[in-house]
């Protein structure tokens, strides 16, 4: 790993982190069964991932910047599991299941929206 790639990862993770903290602490969202800021971050990250997969960049540094740096720091899997864990601990199993389904479905929906947005145009 040379200096250029390290710089790409650092830049991507800084932008991802700041954007995630901005979304997490500046908005108050409560929609659907349990859609909150964490879910919003993850759904947006899926949208960007769809765009990235459709573009399919060959440049290694570009992949490091956007996939490892930006998307890795922007999306968070452990907070998603934590939301489910909170519901699991308060024994709201139906709501846990519905929240799980809605996040997965919305993520893949937005993934394909991003994917076909690039493929069509």
């Amino acid at each position: 790993m040379d200096l250029n790639s390290i710089g790409c990862v650092l830049l991507g993770s800084t932008v991802g982190l700041v954007l995630r903290m901005f979304v997490k602490y500046k908005f108050k969202i409560k929609k659907g069964f349990y859609i909150n800021n964490t879910s919003l971050v993850n759904i947006l990250a899926s949208f960007f991932l769809g765009i990235l997969v459709a573009l399919n960049p060959i440049n290694h540094n570009l992949l490091l910047l956007f996939y490892v740096g930006f998307l890795g720091c922007f999306s968070t899997f452990s907070s998603f599991i934590y939301d489910l864990f909170v519901l699991f601990k308060s024994k709201q199993f139906v709501r846990l299941f519905l929240h799980y389904i809605e996040v997965i479905v919305l993520s893949f929906l937005f993934f394909y929206v991003g994917y076909f947005l690039i493929k069509v145009f």
Binding site: M21, L49, S78
Partner: protein, 110 residues
């Protein structure tokens, strides 16, 4: 609270997490370990700023939802619906149990 000093610590934690994720390069191990650590930390009732550094900085940057989606997308693009549903549920259940396990272990140590 988020001041400049805390923000720098969060930034360094996220850099460390990014490079660790890059070198491990296995989404399943990363998510399992991250969930365990998350469960372990939330049970300890640390201070607010330390929580922010460890959870928002390290754990959240270490685990990656987009890696999870990309892993599942490979099965969809191969039109392997059975494997897709199987892996989706295995990852979800194992992570939830791992977080619960970490939570319980952390409580027992105190």
């Amino acid at each position: 609270m988020i001041n400049v000093k805390n923000f720098l610590f969060i930034l360094f934690a996220s850099y460390f997490a990014s490079f660790l994720r890059f070198y491990v390069d296995n989404n399943f191990i990363i998510s399992i370990f991250g969930s365990f650590l998350f469960g372990f930390i939330i049970a300890r009732r640390l201070g607010k700023s330390l929580n922010l550094i460890l959870l928002t900085g390290f754990c959240s940057c270490f685990t990656s939802f987009s890696g999870f989606i990309l892993f599942l997308y490979r099965f969809i693009s191969e039109e392997d619906v059975l494997k897709f549903i199987l892996y989706l549920n295995i990852i979800f259940i194992s992570n939830l149990l791992m977080m619960y396990f970490g939570f319980m272990i952390s409580r027992k140590i105190i």
